[in-house]
């Protein structure tokens, strides 16, 4: 028994009616949820399906944010800037992926973590283009505050739905099959004719495209970006926690995890402002010890106790 992807899609579409019932605060939460859903689902492609511990999400997000902001600053219309930012992030992922995806385990994790660090330093140093440590302001949009809130909410939700469709497609296609093979035994899959390098790069690019666009959308949404904000290492870690929370390597898991994570984060921010990162840490520790396979894994285990565990990873 699993949560069917179609239900998740329906739930996502239902969220689109949020502006009818909620005020701007609820809309802000909705936009955050959609953004988290994009990040978590994207990470799930490389981290969940292919099993590569990528910490590159912050690199893609920050690169997309800056690409979008700079393009918009040079007069490109907003939607085109978002699209272009996704492409920039995707190209970056293709180039870097070809270079670092031959690394395994910790070495890959560190290399992907360092990508964001290098981009952060480059962005901070390249003052003429990026404004450096001073940050970058985005062009003002002539629209009422309410209209803006709705616009960014729907745009981000649209992106989340697109990411969902991509993830759904991947899971049932040759790509998903190849990635699962790679996760289970990379050498063996290469031996039986899976082009592992190609599929790993594809997975890395897919995990970057939508994150790049989400970064650009975020930049337009908050009007002002600075390097430590968009390249924060937390941007890399949060999606991993969400996916672990929901269930890695599933279509529905990341979306459920993103929603659950947002609720917890909001509660923590409201009640424990000065120790919010410690509470996040506690959440992570508790998650690893008590829900190692995520909510979906937990449900599945309860539904068929005593069932063959090898099926669980194959499903």
């Amino acid at each position: 028994m699993t949560v069917r992807p179609i239900y998740v899609l329906a739930a996502l579409l239902l969220v689109a009616f949020l502006p009818l019932v909620g005020d701007n605060y609820v809309l802000r939460l909705g936009t955050m949820f959609a953004m988290y859903a994009v990040l978590a689902q994207s990470w799930n492609i490389i981290g969940g399906y292919a099993g590569y511990p990528s910490f590159a999400t912050a690199a893609f997000f920050g690169l997309g944010a800056y690409a979008g902001a700079i393009l918009q600053g040079n007069g490109l219309p907003m939607p085109l800037a978002w699209l272009a930012a996704g492409i920039v992030a995707g190209l970056f992922a293709a180039l870097m992926g070809a270079a670092i995806l031959h690394l395994k385990g910790h070495y890959f994790a560190i290399a992907s973590l360092v990508l964001a660090e290098v981009l952060l330093e480059v962005t901070t140093s390249w003052t003429s283009l990026t404004g450096g440590g001073m940050g970058l302001n985005l062009p003002v949009i002539r629209m009422s505050v309410e209209a803006q809130a709705q616009l960014f909410f729907w745009a981000m939700l649209g992106l989340a739905v697109l990411t969902f469709l991509m993830s759904w497609y991947v899971s049932s296609s040759r790509i998903g099959f190849a990635l699962r093979c790679i996760r289970q035994n990379e050498d063996a899959s290469s031996m039986v004719g899976v082009n592992t390098t190609f599929y790993k790069v594809v997975a890395f690019v897919l995990s970057a495209l939508f994150v790049g666009s989400a970064g650009a959308l975020y930049a337009s949404w908050v009007f002002y970006i600075e390097p430590p904000d968009v390249y924060s290492v937390l941007t890399s870690v949060k999606p991993i926690v969400m996916v672990m929370l929901g269930g890695a390597g599933t279509v529905a898991g990341p979306v459920i995890g993103a929603a659950a994570f947002l609720v917890m984060e909001e509660v923590v921010w409201r009640n424990f402002l000065s120790i919010h990162s410690a509470v996040l840490g506690l959440l992570i520790v508790a998650l690893i010890f008590f829900l190692p396979n995520g909510v979906l894994g937990f449900i599945r285990k309860r539904k068929r106790t005593g069932a063959d565990h090898s099926k669980e990873t194959a499903a």
């Binding site: 981290g47 099993g51 511990p53 270079a99 670092i100 690394l103 385990g105 910790h106 070495y107 994790a109 560190i110 290399a111 973590l113 360092v114 990508l115 660090e117 290098v118 330093e121 480059v122 140093s125 290492v233 870690v237 991993i240 926690v241 672990m244 000065s274 120790i275 919010h276 990162s277 410690a278 996040l280 840490g281 506690l282 959440l283 992570i284 520790v285 690893i288 010890f289 190692p292």
Partner: protein, 300 residues
């Protein structure tokens, strides 16, 4: 014509001075990284907590000096002991339970623990930068035209001594031999009667001890703040990849190399980019030679 004859020697003196500064820094970097390398090599765990351990060591040295008047050089024992206990408890109580899990699990777990420790330090000590102001600094002396900052130099020598002690502990003591045995083959070591979980806890404790000791030496040189934790962690990463994982000599070579690279990089393109060059170098090394300068070894 005379100035032209003088110029080369002046430049060579400048380079010698920069090299010296780099090596002094590098010795301390080696001390930061050696514990990180030990944990990574033996437990196959990347300890994200390591940077915060260093900072905690610095705080212990700071408060010991301010309140008890204990010189940071002596606090090495205090900070090392406290951090060993903390590391032992963390490994025995928490990380041991997931030590065989995939890379991602242990990475995310230590990240979560780091969030807790770092946030705890911010609440307890605030994020303000503090510095240890020695009542009787050793100052500096000039030898053969080179300026020797004595406090730094002693700190670096102590760091090297500690690293050498760790080496002899691993090579000579029975605990050290057990650590190396576990590193080489966990199952075989267990069959020989080695209590693997206990060895893991001791190894993690030793890693934390080295971090705490390095922190208390660094308290003389760098401002102390919980915000520095990630930078120390970054340094440990780079040193391990530069020098090669799993050997004391790798950490020393990597540390000295990083110190020299940072000093000359600061000269060439400005001090604020010192770490950037190191990170770029790290990526290039990972792509072309992920085993590092000294190659991957097993503390044999």
């Amino acid at each position: 014509m005379v100035p032209a004859a003088i110029e080369p020697t002046r430049y060579s003196m400048l380079y010698a001075q920069i090299l010296l500064n780099g090596l002094v820094l590098g010795g301390l970097y080696a001390c930061i990284a050696v514990g990180f390398s030990l944990v990574w090599g033996v437990l196959n765990v990347i300890n994200i907590l390591h940077g915060s351990f260093v900072v905690l060591g610095s705080y212990i040295a700071y408060f010991a000096y301010v309140h008890l008047g204990i010189h940071p050089f002596l606090s090495v024992i205090l900070a090392g002991g406290a951090l060993f206990a903390l590391g032992y408890v963390v490994q025995a109580g928490l990380i041991n339970r997931v030590v065989g899990a995939p890379v991602l699990t242990t990475l995310v777990l230590t990240f979560g623990l780091d969030l807790i420790l770092n946030n705890g330090m911010i609440v307890a000590f605030t994020a303000d930068y503090r510095t240890v102001q020695l009542a009787h600094p050793l100052g500096s002396t000039v030898v053969g035209g080179l300026v020797l900052p004595l406090d730094r130099l002693v700190a670096m020598l102590l760091a090297c001594v500690l690293t050498v002690i760790l080496y002899f502990v691993l090579v000579r003591s029975s605990i050290g031999r057990a650590i190396v045995a576990v590193r080489m083959d966990r199952e075989a070591a267990a069959l020989m009667g080695v209590n693997v979980k206990r060895i893991y806890a001791i190894t993690f404790g030793l890693g934390a001890l080295m971090a705490g000791a390095a922190g208390s030496l660094l308290s003389l040189i760098f401002p102390i703040s919980p915000l520095n934790g990630s930078e120390f962690l970054g340094i440990a990463f780079i040193v391990c990849v530069l020098g090669g994982l799993g050997s004391i000599s790798g950490a020393i070579v990597g540390g000295l190399a990083l110190g020299a690279i940072q000093s000359f990089g600061a000269l060439l393109i400005g001090p604020q980019h010192g770490l950037t060059i190191a990170f770029v170098l790290l990526i290039i090394l990972l792509i072309f030679k992920p085993t590092g300068i000294m190659g991957r070894r097993g503390y044999e």
